[in-house]
Amino acid sequence: MANVLIVDDSPTARMLVRRCLQIAGYGADQMFEAEHGRAALDVLRVQSIDLAVVDLNMPVMDGRTLIRFMRSSPRHNSIPIIVVSSLVNDTAAAELVAMGASTVLKKPLSPAAMASAIAELQGVAA
């Protein structure tokens, strides 16, 4: 059970992430949504978040900046971050993991990919 923060400027993308989490059997207590990185920081300030699912290409504050903020914060630097983006190739994935992303998934997201990513994160955490 967990609190999940979904960060994407597209309501369609946020809904797809929500559905994939549900189909993947990830039982979230609550799913919080933010339409860009700055709004995500507002949520992080007042909520205890166990998993963040983050897009890259967003207005106001993009995903890379949000990841840097989270990894520089003692309170948030251990939250697993799944990056979900269409802009993903091997180079970008390596760069994002080096920056602090826990794993990187390609849009459009599938429930199987989400389930596999979460299983991997739980394995790492165990």
Binding site: T12, S86, D90, T91
Partner: protein
């Protein structure tokens, strides 16, 4: 790389994969999309790196509403802004995947998608036009053009 150099095979494979994943319908690079006819719902996105240009994706407004119903399954009303948001996400996914595949060693870059409805008239002789027919007969148009 200029948008005119983008390999059609890359576009076709990305478009079919994205449409199948997002609206659960197979797509074939076939058909004839009428850019000048009827009310369209469209989304445009700038391509920054490695391909430079613009990509536009469009469907008939009625088809956009039906695709929206497939995706949202009644969870959300098919209002015009919501239809455009769906098209923006489709455009973002297609453009991003295409950019990422063109040069796997490069960091891909895109602008933010914009969208609109009604007629789409900005077409030049150098525009590349592609059409994709979905399993249910709907036709999706994709246009690639230079920005300068």
């Amino acid at each position: 790389m200029n948008v005119q150099q983008l390999d059609t095979r890359v576009i076709d494979s990305v478009v079919t994969e994205v449409l199948e994943s997002m609206v659960f319908l197979g797509a074939e690079p076939a058909g004839d999309f009428d850019w000048g006819g009827g009310a369209l719902c469209w989304s445009s996105i700038d391509l920054h790196t490695p391909v430079v240009g613009e990509m536009v994706i469009a469907v008939q407004e009625q088809d956009a509403a039906e695709l929206f119903e497939l995706l949202w399954a009644g969870e959300r009303a098919p209002e015009p802004a919501a239809l455009r948001a769906l098209l923006e996400e489709v455009a973002n996914a297609i453009a991003g995947q295409a950019q990422a595949q063109v040069d796997p060693s490069a960091t891909a870059g895109l602008g933010l998608p914009t969208s609109g409805s009604g007629a789409f008239t900005a077409q030049g002789p150098a525009d590349r036009r592609h059409s994709y027919t979905l399993d249910d007969g709907k036709v999706v148009g994709l246009l690639l053009r230079e920005l300068v």
